[in-house]
Symmetry: C2
């Protein structure tokens, strides 16, 4: 199977690297950013081009959501499979007379970070059983967790990830504002954070909850509210504590 990856961002980079590490041949990486393509090309030993797209059986579009449709129109071939990598787009966003699919790796990608691709879940959707099998087979060569998932399911996966990853990171950023304000190194909180995450590898997060809200400690809740000077911190503080109290029916 001849594969072309379209895009030169973090997802394209990691897909190219994951395929290359698992001896899956990629014919070409194609895109607009010659400099970024060249980097991936040299790193993964895959040809690249900014103007001539190679003929392939599978095109994987790994670009930002808002340019996925535009890029998909560049594929004029009809007898081929085209998959995008977005968690929040239907496969019908792809505009062409080819067979459409989604090939969604659930991970947060930064270019420089080494990743263990084997543990990254892939969610796959295609128009027919055969294409579905092709994509699942491909994903299985990289990852141990491959799952069928239509657009509806994918939306919920993405939403879960927003809570468990994007929002969690934002809480870290807000927490760091508080500790920075007191000249306490944020690194002091990393063992606590690591332990918090380690715990949910073993027990249900609902059972792992600690802190003033879940023990209904009004004194500490009030003490914290008095301490907080930022309007944004206070809004988060109250909203999350309310949500904790609701969850445990306090």
């Amino acid at each position: 199977m001849r594969i072309v990856i379209l895009g030169s961002g973090n997802v394209a980079f990691h897909l190219a690297q994951a395929f290359s590490e698992n001896k899956i041949g990629v014919s070409q990486i194609f895109g607009r950013n010659g400099k970024a393509l060249k980097e991936i090309s040299e790193h993964c030993n895959i040809p690249y081009s900014t103007d001539e797209m190679m003929d392939a059986d599978l095109y994987i579009i790994a670009v930002k959501d808002d340019v996925t449709a535009e890029i998909s129109r560049k594929i004029i071939k009809e007898d081929c499979l085209v998959a995008h990598t977005s968690g929040s787009l239907p496969k019908e966003i792809l505009e062409g007379n080819y067979r459409k699919a989604s090939f969604y790796p659930l991970q947060t990608f930064s270019k420089s970070k080494k990743l263990n691709y084997a543990e990254i879940p892939f969610f796959v959707e295609a128009e027919n059983q055969e294409d579905q099998e092709v994509l699942k087979n491909l994903a299985s060569q990289v990852s141990e967790n491959v799952m069928d998932s239509d657009y509806e399911k994918r939306k919920y996966i993405h939403l879960t990830a927003v809570f468990a990853c994007n929002f969690v990171n934002h809480l870290f950023a807000r927490a760091k504002e508080i500790s920075d304000g007191q000249q306490i190194p944020f690194s002091y909180f990393l063992p606590l954070i690591d332990e918090t995450v380690q715990k949910i590898h073993e027990i249900d997060p609902k059972s792992a909850q600690t802190g003033p809200a879940v023990r209904n400690d009004e004194r500490v809740l009030q003490l914290h509210e008095d301490l907080i000077t930022s309007k944004e911190h206070l809004k988060i503080y109250k909203t999350v504590n309310d949500s904790i109290k609701k969850m445990y029916e306090l």
Copy 2:
């Protein structure tokens, strides 16, 4: 120095274990719950009692905030040092004619989990320089991160921990409600969560932010809001996204 630990909960257990692992002698653990005390006693090879408190130079009160004052009254000796382990109490909560202190380990403790005590930060406060040194020296035998910290600072440390640990765990619990609703194993999200946390060991969480809010992706934000059926989820979703937009001035 003769040390007595008061309490039989998770903090008492881990302090006893940390001291015992580092060959710091503890004369006794004292409390009301004989069964729990007996367990710690056998595990750490430290005598225990529910009715007769031993004479000591340092008493460490590791009990819940709301019973700390009550327990502190049980120490009638005057020429001794008494420290509580709470992040959200002043040392003046201790009621006795002894010298008062705070000895606060920053970690979330569950009884069964093995912990690397060397990386747990200890925050220490006493009435005078000599006691301060005694407690810092004690903490340093357990941990590599020991810091002076008065009540004011301790409150902020605790508040930071609530954001970075308690709130983060609650987001995991809420996220799991979403994935459970779609029969997607929550374990699929663990590599993503691990990576999110791994990232902030290396880069500032503010620079690590990803997701629809930080890229001002109104389509996905709207799509998610339409998807969410729980009032609590929606309140968190809107509050945190607003906070992200404010942080990046979007």
